[in-house]
């Protein structure tokens, strides 16, 4: 949770309280989400799709390749096995045709034929001639099978009907797995005899085992009941029932996919060997065949995951960084907007004030003159001069008019732009001068003023009259707060960067929180109506702005108030856009141009 909190960018929970509605151009969270989703979409989706498509195609290709290979293998094996069997048959046929029945019935001759067959073809174990009645009249071979009657054996009937016969692998009378082949030979007189031979299945095994060597597979032969005719390393011994089901009959070689009961995928190639009871089976585990490809696939998947992770991290990082930048820029924009708006407000008020002051000044001038005339007349006529009360009344009218004049003039001052003249300034000295100016005032109110100026304060380049006015206003303000006496501390400090700060700290009233926000608003005054015009701090604010500084107020109700003015060491005209703007606005108001000589300014009341 805490890591998440730390990672969470600032804009995430951003809510601009001060800006009010319509001020925010951006919903940062939404931008972020959109950026992330879109980029993730356009990068990861094609990547995943490509991988999936490639996977599908490769898989198909590999599977069909496997099937093809398998079917080729099945065909080859089938040809080999068929040829082997056909060869044996032909050999028997040849023996029957080449020798007269009499010769075959001669045991010695038969033994020599068997010997020749063994030598010439191999695989023959014994050889017997069976008469029409089923008696094996002559026999050559290792077993004593002479005169065994086969008449009642199933295969004998088959030979009768089909002329040739190939048996399943049997133990037979000999009790070793072998397979019988038999050929019926019909004589010209219509009688026949059957030439029977036992084939050693060892040859079969040898034949098949050369296909085993191809690797991974299991090649064997079953009969149609599913009894294994040759041993299989995986699916049973000779003459046992095969662990797999017997595949369906098909003329051609078939390759199918199947599953063992325990869920293993197998590729099964089989073919029914023609004219035999045999089915040639080639079984390979699919997993084995797919092994190399699966390895490659898992490599690709790992690569995919790794690149996706990297892409995601980069996207998240970049999106967060950019949105953060936008957020910061937007914050700045809003701040500037606030500032401009505030200055705009001040300027509007200034314009209003100037207009009002003008309108009031004319009637005030009339009252002033009328009252002055009354006084003049009283002074001329001795009768009224004696009347202290009347004289007092007239005087008080004049005093009030003067006060009104002062107010309207300060209103005009508020709207007026004083030219900024940059010169090197010793802050400590200016403050001391201003304090001297108000020294008596401070004494009357029993205020103790202390000034602390850091030793390394350089001379700053700024405007003297602005600074004087600023300090004067702040001192007046502090004096009002300390009307019952108290301490005022003024500190001049070097700030980080090219700035100095002047702090005015009083230890009395403090300003309630709700007033603090409006303190720089024009006509907001906590002083009595008689004392202030409510323009002191707004004017100060404007002045500080004009010389490129900033003013900040911090107060704790009941404990005291700080006013901190931050001033640049060197006044830079470009430093404050708002100032330029303000000056422009004021130009409009006061129409004052730059040639105004200092002494010819409007007279202060």
């Amino acid at each position: 949770m805490s890591i998440l909190k730390r990672l969470k960018p600032k804009f995430w929970d951003h809510e601009d309280v001060a800006a009010g509605p319509y001020k925010h151009l951006f919903n940062f969270r939404r931008i972020w989400e959109l950026a992330v989703l879109l980029t993730v979409g356009v990068t990861l989706i094609p990547m995943i799709a490509l991988t999936l498509i490639d996977h599908k195609f490769t898989k198909n290709a590999i599977e069909s390749e496997i099937l093809l290979q398998m079917s080729r293998l099945v065909s080859n094996t089938r040809r080999t096995i068929s040829f082997f069997i056909a060869e044996r048959w032909s050999a028997l046929d040849f023996v029957a045709l080449d020798n007269s029945p009499e010769a075959l019935r001669d045991p010695k001759k038969l033994a020599s034929i068997l010997e020749n067959l063994k030598r010439g073809f191999g695989g023959f174990e014994d050889l017997g001639v069976i008469e029409q009645n089923g008696d094996q009249r002559t026999y050559a071979g290792p077993n004593k099978l002479q005169n065994v009657n086969y008449l009642n054996q199933g295969w004998y009937k088959d030979v009768f009907e089909r002329d040739v016969y190939l048996s399943d692998v049997v133990l037979g009378f000999r009790k070793t797995p072998h397979l019988d082949i038999a050929v019926k030979h019909t004589l010209p007189d219509g009688s026949f005899y059957v030439l029977r031979a036992a084939l050693d299945i060892g040859r079969f095994n040898d034949l098949l085992s050369q296909f085993h060597a191809g690797g991974l597979g299991d090649v064997f032969i079953i009969n149609q009941m599913g009894i294994l005719q040759t041993p299989s390393p995986r699916y049973g011994k000779v003459l046992e029932k095969m662990a797999l089901p017997v595949p369906e009959y098909s003329k051609e070689s078939e390759v199918i996919e199947t599953k063992t009961p325990d869920g293993e995928h197998l590729i099964l190639g089989y073919t029914y060997l023609p004219e035999t009871p045999f089915i040639l089976m080639i079984v390979k585990k699919k997993a084995d065949l797919l092994g190399p490809w699966q390895k490659a696939r898992s490599d690709i998947i790992w690569f995919l995951i790794a690149s996706m992770t990297v892409i995601l991290i980069v996207i998240l990082g970049v999106a967060t960084y950019l949105v953060q930048k936008i957020h910061v820029a937007d914050q700045k924009r809003i701040m500037t907007l606030h500032q401009v708006e505030y200055q705009n407000k001040l300027a509007s008020i200034g314009r209003l004030a100037a207009g009002a002051a003008h309108e009031i000044n004319n009637p005030l001038a009339i009252i002033n003159e009328k009252a002055g005339l009354i006084k003049d007349m009283f002074t001329l006529k001795k009768l009224y001069t004696e009347d202290q009360k009347l004289m007092g009344l007239v005087d008080s009218i004049l005093t009030v008019v003067e006060r009104c004049g002062r107010i309207t003039k300060s209103l005009l001052n508020f709207a007026r732009h004083i030219d900024v003249k940059v010169q090197p300034i010793d802050l400590g000295k200016i403050i001391t001068n201003v304090i001297t100016l108000l020294g008596r005032d401070a004494e009357i109110r029993s205020i103790v003023i202390s000034i602390k100026v850091q030793e390394d304060i350089p001379q700053i380049e700024s405007d003297q009259s602005h600074l004087q006015q600023i300090f004067l206003n702040l001192l007046n303000n502090a004096f009002e707060a300390l009307s019952g006496g108290g301490r005022l501390e003024i500190t001049v400090r070097r700030e980080e960067g090219e700035f100095v700060s002047v702090t005015f700290m009083d230890d009395r009233q403090g300003i309630p929180r709700e007033d603090l926000r409006r303190i720089f608003d024009p006509f907001f005054s906590t002083k009595g109506r008689k004392v202030g015009t409510g323009l002191g701090l707004p004017i100060t604010y404007g002045l500080v702005q004009e010389i490129g500084g900033s003013i900040r107020v911090k107060s704790e109700f009941g404990k005291g108030t700080y006013f901190v003015i931050r001033l640049p060491l060197k006044m830079d005209k470009k430093e404050n856009l708002g100032r330029e703007f303000m000056a422009l606005m004021r130009e409009d108001l006061s129409q004052q141009n730059e040639y105004l000589p200092g002494k010819s300014g409007p007279k202060e009341g």
């Binding site: 100037a354 002051a357 003008h358 000044n361 004319n362 005030l364 001038a365 009339i366 009252i367 002033n368 003159e369 009328k370 002055g372 005339l373 003049d376 007349m377 001329l380 008019v401 003067e402 009104c404 004049g405 003039k409 005009l412 709207a415 007026r416 108001l589 006061s590 129409q591 004052q592 141009n593 040639y595 105004l596 010819s600 300014g601 409007p602 007279k603």
Partner: protein
């Protein structure tokens, strides 16, 4: 001889009252409520000082000032303004006005200014006269040519 003052302002009450107060202070006061009228009076009569409001309907203070200065270069003009139109005041001073006051102004200050304006004008006229005298002394014939 009384100082001749012309007060020009569109505020009738103001003009009347100020005129009365200046009369009490022993000035020869004439009033005018607009620029055109004031020009007429300046043509007819030689004033020492004109007190001129900057913002007036019709012919405004600056135009009036220009005309007055054209007609009577030696007549001193003091501008009055109830407004922050300091720019006009400055223009006025560039055009030869002596000074300007913000309304409501202290009448005593205004009186002082009128006196010093008159004094300045008198001195100027004196210098001109002296110059003429010296001219006559150096070249008596010039008197003849002067009509």
């Amino acid at each position: 001889m009384k100082i001749r003052v012309l007060i020009v302002d569109d505020e009738e009450e103001f003009v009347q009252t100020l005129s009365e107060r200046l009369t009490i202070r022993d000035y020869d006061v004439t009033t005018s409520l607009n620029g055109e009228d004031a020009i007429g009076k300046v043509k007819d009569y030689l004033f020492d000082v004109v007190i001129l409001d900057v913002a007036m309907p019709g012919m405004d203070g600056i135009a009036t000032l220009r005309e007055i200065k054209r007609l009577r270069p030696l007549t001193e003009v003091i501008m009055l303004t109830g407004h922050a139109t300091v720019k006009s005041a400055i223009e006025g001073m560039k055009l030869g006005a002596l000074d300007f006051f913000m309304k409501p102004c202290d009448t005593d200050e205004l009186v002082t200014k009128i006196n010093s304006a008159h004094e300045g004008k008198t001195k100027q006229e004196e210098r001109i006269r002296m110059a003429k005298v010296s001219e006559i002394i150096s070249s008596p014939r010039s008197v003849l040519g002067e009509d």
